[in-house]
Amino acid sequence: MIKKTSRGISRPGLGVAATLALAMTLAACGGSGGDPGESAEQDTLATGETLTITTFGEFGYDALIEEWNAEHPDVQVEQTKVSLWDDWKNELNTNLQANAGLPDIVAIEGDFMPAIVAAPDRWVDLSDEDVEGRWLEFKQEAATAADGQMLGYPTDAGPEAFCYRADLFEEAGLPSDREEVAKLMTTWDDYYALGEQFTAASDAAWYDSSGSIAQAMLNQVPNPFEREDGTVDVENEGLQEVWATVTANAETLSTRNKQWNPDWEAAFKKDGFATIPCPGWMRSNIRDNQGKLQDGVVWDIADVFPGGGGNWGGSFLAVPKTSTHQGPAQEFLEWLTAPEQQLRVFAELGNFPSQVEALESPELQGTTDPYFNDAPVGEIYINRAEAIDVQPFQGPLYSDILGKFQAAVDRVDEGSATPDESWKTFLADVDSLQ
């Protein structure tokens, strides 16, 4: 029996040696592919073939795509939705690495746009006279490379207001009217002080997650992770201040749930917290997690953001050079990101448009949201967009470092590390990205 086994090993052993030699030869020539910066050969859409687009979260494009498909039998569009940006980012990166497997159009979170602008040769230049001046200036700039190519069309913007539970405010003896609430949180100091007052009188936490409040504060820091020349510098005053404030208040004011996880979602229904930083798109998350308004739950929106204004999120749509249908893709995108279409998304979902014309439309200005106690959301978000005075500098590593920073906040929030330990891990994590 022993003999049999040993013989069984030696034969494949020979084969292993042979295939290893073969594999080595293959490996040696495996590295040289075609030039990834070169555009794919263009092709017309055959019958049954579709233009593919991948989005994440909820872009609110279902009805729009249906409408487009009805009007354009030759250019049928098929959407794939990935639920979380971070997951889609990994897949996107992997596909870019392989230079294969990408759809014709990809959705890109605003924070990742700097990485694309820094290495533009994989993306189709979408600049076109017809769309010049369509978007807010800072959005257009974020998608424009050094040589003037426009690498993505902005979809929405994320000016932040504060959403709050009026019923919980009332129970805790705080004013619940949206104008009065707005007056109470014009600075972060006021906001945190109000939180102390609230939690003293209520079982609920003050905000949904340390991660989300850190993100909100971070959006007002001019150079959160990188200097203007793109070098990484995370030990700067602005970031330190955010870190110190958020970690100091984690225990008393936060639900200590990680944003987007099941416990965070469940906290909406369980009266877990009273306030949440609220870019336009956040409203659909609140609606989805809270469900039908019942048992006296009242959501409202205050036309205020502590410390001025801030922008959180807002995405782009880009076309990779691997696409074999770049022409129709651009045509579809020009239609999709036009003010009329984005206004419909705003009405339906809440994602706030980044198109100048859409912002001026009386339709937008008059919009109210019945779910949020009939708050005049059009007016509120226009005000919030005007209040933005700082656009944080985002270098090519911004999105990656942000991920590590969120993990650092999560560690403190969940209590698996002290703020000091967590900060050290964060520094090591940032180092490992370089």
């Binding site: 013989r7 494949p12 084969g15 292993v16 295939t19 290893l20 073969l22 594999a23 080595m24 293959l26 490996a27 040696a28 495996g30 590295g31 990834p36 979380l84 971070d86 997951d87 990994n90 990166n93 992997t94 870019l96 690495q97 230079n99 990485a115 820094a118 290495a119 994989r122 749930n257 990680k258 944003q259 987007w260 996880n261 099941p262 416990d263 469940a266 906290a267 369980k270 090519p396 990656d400 991920g403 590590k404 969120q406 993990a407 650092a408 999560d410 560690r411 929030d413 969940e414 209590g415 698996s416 590390a417 967590s422 891990t425 090591a428 490992s432 990205l433």
Partner: protein, 349 residues
């Protein structure tokens, strides 16, 4: 080994073309001189004979070759290519391979405290899953080996978890083990125990992940054990009972020694699977960054490879880590194999 004995003096046919075989081979002829006329029939016979001999010798290799060809493409090539990539730096922004940096990536990975942490996590989850799994599987198999009413029903039930797609199973377990709103914590609460923060406490997170692995694999292994147990001759048990050996004693002194090859097989495959565990911790993770918990509480070695490669975009480091994982698994498997052989042999004596 049938072929070599029969081949006799014609040894190593694979090494040289048949037509140039030297004189003095078994036929006693030299076909190289281009014989003619009456010799033609003889030559044809000879060729046929040779072909038959080749057939016997080559056929087994041809039959096993598909495996090795496929293995070369999907096993050996990636392995070698990973080794090649592990010697290079990576230009993340340009999505391109960087410069040749020798063994720097290996040094980097070995110096990384996170790698050590993932190693400890892997071993811990491995111990919490593999050991109970094999023990329970043997017990279940021993129970199923008795005369049971509706034995097929029991056997199929044991295998059911294995049929459920792992992704679905993990999603369900993930909800059960939610820190705040999970069913397990509700149960703990209802009996007056403190809820456990499954995604936060390092060792508890390992326990939760191990429970998913065990749930999935125990039944499968039990059936493999059962198949082996049923091949043990019943007379042996009979005489053991006559000698007064109880069920437990029979299990340790008859069953286990007699199914030793199966035990070794199960332990080796469980070890490999346990050390490569990925789906469970990856889907159990409730952070957006998917790095095995915010504090990497349950980052396993395969997750480490995933994070360094897919997430941080340093394929050289990921490749180095993958190779280290490969060597590590081989070492553990060999150690495990030796230990199991030694243990079960002593029992048999």
């Amino acid at each position: 080994m049938t072929a070599p004995a029969e081949a006799g003096t014609a040894a190593q046919p694979g090494n040289r073309p048949a037509s140039r075989r030297p004189a003095g081979s078994r036929s006693g002829e030299d076909p190289g001189d281009g014989g003619r006329g009456g010799r033609r029939g003889e030559r044809r016979l000879l060729r046929r004979e040779r072909r038959a001999r080749w057939d016997v010798k080559l056929a087994p290799y041809v039959f096993v070759s598909p495996f090795f060809l496929v293995f070369a493409v999907v096993g050996m090539f990636p392995l070698a290519y990973t080794g090649y990539l592990s010697l290079y730096d990576w230009d993340r922004l340009a999505y391109a391979r960087g410069e040749f940096i020798g063994l720097d990536n290996f040094r980097w990975v070995l110096d990384d405290p996170l790698f050590t942490k993932s190693l400890v996590n892997t071993l811990s989850i491995f111990a919490m899953s593999s050991i109970p799994q094999v023990v329970i599987a043997v017990t279940v198999a021993a129970l199923l080996d008795q005369q049971l009413r509706g034995s097929t029903f029991w056997r199929i039930s044991v295998l059911l978890p294995f049929v459920v797609a792992p992704t679905a199973a993990v999603l369900i377990f993930g909800t059960l083990f939610s820190d705040r709103s999970g069913l397990v914590n509700e149960l703990l609460n209802s009996v007056g125990l403190e809820p456990i923060r499954w995604h936060v406490e390092r060792w508890w997170s390992h326990a939760a992940i191990s429970s998913m692995v065990n749930w999935r694999w125990t039944g499968y292994n039990a059936l493999i054990f059962l198949a082996a147990m049923q091949a043990v001759p019943r007379e042996v048990y009979e005489s053991a009972s006559l000698d007064g050996a109880g069920r437990v004693r029979q299990l340790f002194h008859i069953t286990l020694p007699m199914i030793r090859p199966t035990v070794i097989f199960v332990i080796v495959t469980t070890t490999i699977g346990g050390l490569q565990i990925f789906t469970e911790p990856r889907l159990f993770d409730d952070t957006a960054q998917r790095e095995g918990g915010a504090d990497h509480q349950y980052m396993t070695m395969t997750l480490y490879v995933y994070v360094k490669g897919i997430e941080d975009q340093f394929y050289g480091r990921a490749s180095a880590a993958a190779w280290l994982l490969f060597l590590f698994i081989i070492t553990i498997v060999l150690a495990n194999y030796a230990a199991t052989r030694w243990l079960t042999r002593r029992r048999a004596l």
